[in-house]
């Protein structure tokens, strides 16, 4: 076995392990393990309706943010510099 093979094997296996670790940490950080019940319900209550709902929320958020941005811009226009 050449040294290169050994190096590549260690590198790949460590990298794969690190990927798993990173995924776990990401889940932990974003609070996905905070509520175990929800974890399961997410799968149970999934469907077209849920997707529509999520899209609607996304749109609403975008609209509101745009509105508040506009408002701030307007406020600035009114305010003399």
């Amino acid at each position: 076995m050449s040294t290169n093979v050994l190096a590549v094997m260690i590198a790949i296996s460590t990298f794969l392990g690190a990927l798993g670790l990173a995924a776990l940490l990401w889940g932990l950080r974003t609070g996905q393990f905070d509520d175990t019940a929800k974890f399961l319900d997410g799968a149970r209550f999934d469907g077209e309706e849920e997707l529509r709902d999520a899209v609607m929320m996304e749109q609403k958020r975008k609209e509101i943010l745009e509105k508040s941005l506009e408002k701030r811009r307007e406020d600035k226009r009114v305010m003399p510099d």
Binding site: L25, L28, T36, D41, M56, M57
Partner: protein, 778 residues
């Protein structure tokens, strides 16, 4: 039953909710419910207090403004009992215009709602939740509890990284060890070294960051701590290993670096895990109290007013079962008040026009109106809450022995390592050789054994205690408890049961117990309950006539028999001749005008109280009993148990007594269970609360006894003393190990394998010794 098309409803509320959901197209909720049944929505969800959610004070307190201009609030939802409830609430909130985000945690019932203040008000959001039959309260997300959770999550992430790295480094290290004996080509060794380096780096700088931070704060406050030794030790070994890797000389010790960090980090995490979740005490205490009272105006109309706005002189109405939140004096009506949360006295106090009502008591049985004499801020309950917060902040802290010792030890090891390095460099003139020996000194003195000495023993101790129903909120309390020399006990609820029970019975004529049971089961008075528990009659007959005369007794007709029962004075008043001399509370019963039985009631001592006190005294602690009760009762109990006592104390006076003991240099354990004890509990070094005690007492206490037996107190103290002894033994063990191994290392006799083996052995010895805590207790 209400018919509505093809649907049937139990009440109007359910029907309303159904139509609401139907209009929004959310009827699939009823399918998602599965086997769950629903409770009808409560009527309390009226709109009266909704504007409260939009008030300035509320916004400032609970609502967080996000950088993007949106507002965020944390709510606790009431009435959630299944996943479908979570789904429904989220859906309803999502459909409100202006709500950007709504997530509900099923296990904690906490919801996070983000909304746009320009499109919707919070009161409208809460109204929507209420309209479907749930209710919402705000809570402060900056509570320490939340922060503790954050800290735990942070630790957990660091540990995951450390464990991952250690596990991987271990198998690489095994290859290294084998190579050391059988010989290995330098190229292979080089690859393994680099792999170890890659794994050790994040462990040291990410997972080990906590130690660097701890060492920094320690140095800033001018003391050397364990963190410093671990941080410097790990860093030196790390740097040396890099040097060895680059120059390809000697062995690398990356595995030691990760092992040290991982082990000590896990120990620390376990401590954080068991750490007392300090809560916002004022909120806890006042949280269970109503925020509004019914104020009666001059026309006699009732109106709900927030407690802070009630002025002195206003008339407040109390309904049966309501808690008093503002101090005052009764102007109309009379009734029994439960003041046990203030005085610890188990029996209710009868109050009539002209008597003072104190906040914290509960109106038990009648409608009473009283005139406010002090504003809410100055009322008894608020005062106690304020005092409590103050005392918690300036609570005495006892420096932990192990921390002192390990700090001292760290300093010595670092000095010795430095001296060794200097000495070898001076003698041999070789920098490399001097460095190798100095590093082996640090490795062999690796604080594993010392670092594990305390956490290991306290961990076993805490686990053992938990098995016996004794919960320590923080590991360090075991040590403090072991050092205590005075035990202060509350009487009611701690030494005694806190509810009257029959101690003697005298029968003057034969009678049917069911007749008496029929009367006492109708009454909610503690004495009646005591009698009912004593008689134990199942399915007593229902009285055809029943009158309860407050604080005196009961008149009733059961199965045609005239029954008069109650105090001696009451029976005399009804023309029944009776006499009683004694110190107990008496419940006398006359049937058809003839005295048939007399029950003597007393608040009995808990089982094993006497034995526990004797044993605690044997452990060398002084025992004192404090009570708000009358001196006569206190004297009797104290003389049975053979302990000192102070009677008739107010909550503040109990706390002052503890302060006094502190001033004399005593370390005090306080055991109690009521709101009246919470101040004293907060002031003591170790506070023990009975599991069924008041919420506030539980939240200020350090140790909780799940079983309400005084023997548990003894067990807790004995266990803590034993753990303390084991800690000292562990420290001695690791010190002995170091005194033997260190000189060898300094003289340069230690090769890497021996160092690693010795390190593991010393750790094993400490762990093994700690396990003896389990065996030593029966």
């Amino acid at each position: 039953m209400i018919r509505d098309g093809e649907h049937h409803f139990c009440c109007k509320g359910c029907q309303q909710v159904f139509h609401l959901l139907h209009d929004q197209g959310l009827t699939s909720f009823y399918e998602k419910l599965g086997d769950q049944t629903l409770h009808p929505p409560s009527d309390s969800a009226s709109g009266e207090d909704l504007e409260h959610f939009d008030s300035e004070g509320f916004l400032r307190r609970y609502v967080r403004k996000r950088p993007d201009g949106l507002l965020e609030v944390s709510l606790i939802l009431e009435g959630i009992h299944c996943a479908a409830c979570v789904w429904l609430n989220e859906k309803v909130l999502h459909r409100l215009p202006g709500v950007v985000e709504a997530t509900i945690n099923y296990s904690t019932n906490k919801a996070k709602v983000v909304w746009d203040p320009h499109s919707i008000k919070l009161s409208r959001i809460v109204e929507a939740i209420r309209s479907i039959g749930y209710d919402a309260h705000a809570y402060d997300p900056s509570l320490q509890e939340e922060r503790a959770l954050q800290a735990r999550r942070d630790y957990y992430a660091r540990i995951l990284v450390a464990v991952f790295a250690t596990m991987n480094i271990m198998w690489i290290a095994i290859a290294q060890y084998v190579g050391l004996f059988t010989g290995m080509k330098p190229e292979y060794k080089q690859i393994l070294n680099v792999a170890e380096f890659v794994l050790a780096t994040p462990t040291l700088f990410y997972s080990g960051w906590i130690f660097f931070k701890g060492a920094y704060y320690g140095l800033k406050n001018r003391f050397v701590n364990m963190d410093l030794l671990i941080a410097t030790g790990a860093t030196i070994v790390y740097l040396y290993s890099i040097w060895a890797m680059v120059t390809n000389k000697g062995e690398v010790y990356f595995d030691s670096v990760t092992m040290i960090i991982t082990f000590v980090l896990v120990g620390k995490y376990l401590e954080v895990l068991s750490k007392k979740q300090a809560v916002d005490t004022i909120d806890r205490l006042l949280g269970s109290y109503p925020t509004q009272v019914r104020v009666i105006d001059t026309q006699g109309q009732g109106r709900l007013v927030p407690v802070e706005q009630v002025e002195v002189g206003k008339i407040v109405e109390l309904k049966p079962g309501e808690k008093v939140v503002i101090d005052g004096r009764i102007v109309e009506g009379a009734g029994s008040f439960d003041e046990s949360s203030l005085t610890g006295e188990a029996l209710p106090v009868y109050k009539e026009v002209g008597d003072e009502v104190v906040s914290g008591s509960i109106c038990l049985d009648s409608l009473v109106r009283y005139r406010v004499e002090r504003p809410f801020r100055e009322s008894m309950m608020s005062q106690i809450a304020r005092l409590l917060e103050e005392s918690l902040n300036k609570r005495p802290k006892i420096e932990a022995l192990a921390n002192e010792l390990s700090g001292f030890f760290s300093l010595i090891i670092l000095t010795i390592a430095l001296l060794t390095f200097g000495g070898w460099y001076y003698v041999t003139g070789s920098l490399e050789e001097a460095l190798v020996v100095a590093v082996s000194v640090v490795v062999i003195a690796c604080p594993c054994a010392l670092g594990l000495a305390t956490p290991m023993a306290t961990l076993v101790g805490i686990g053992e205690a938990a098995k016996r129903g004794i919960l320590f909120k923080e590991a360090a309390y075991l040590e403090t408890m072991a050092k205590a020399d005075t035990l202060v006990l509350d009487k009611t609820g701690t030494l005694t049961r806190g509810e009257p029970a029959v101690v003697a019975e005298e029968r003057f004529a034969p009678f049917d117990p069911a007749l008496i049971a029929a009367v006492v089961t109708r009454s909610n008075h503690p004495i009646s309950r005591g009698i009912a528990a004593y008689l134990r009659v199942k399915n007593p007959p229902v009285p055809s006539h029943f009158v309860e005369i407050k604080a005196k007794g009961i008149e009733a007709v059961v199965n045609g028999h005239q029954i008069v029962a109650g105090s001696v004075a009451f029976l005399q008043e009804r023309g029944i001749s009776i006499e009683y001399r004694g110190e107990h509370t008496v419940f006398a019963v006359a049937i058809d005008g003839r005295l048939v039985a007399l029950f003597e009631l007393d608040d009995p001592l808990r089982e094993g109280a006497g034995e526990a006190i004797v044993k605690i005294k044997e452990l060398g602690l002084a025992v004192v009993m404090l009570t708000g009760d009358s001196p006569q009762v206190a004297r009797r109990i104290a003389s049975i148990l053979g302990i000192e006592y102070r009677a008739g104390l107010l909550p503040q006076e109990k706390a002052a007594f503890i302060d006094d003991l502190h001033a004399k240099g005593h370390i005090v354990i306080m055991a109690g269970d009521g709101i009246n004890d919470s101040l004293a509990l907060a002031r003591s070094d170790i506070a023990i609360a009975m599991g069924s005690g008041a919420d506030i007492a539980l939240s200020v206490s350090d140790v909780i006894l799940l079983e309400e037996r005084p023997m548990k107190l003894y067990e807790a103290i004995r266990l803590s003393q034993r753990v303390y002894r084991i800690i000292k033994e562990n420290l001695a063990l690791s010190l002995i190990y170091n005194t033997i191994a260190l000189p060898l290392a300094i003289l340069g006799y230690v090769n890497p394998l021996v160092a690693a083996l010795a390190m593991s052995l010393s750790s094993l010895a400490v762990v093994g010794n700690s396990m003896r805590i389990k065996g030593g207790l029966k």
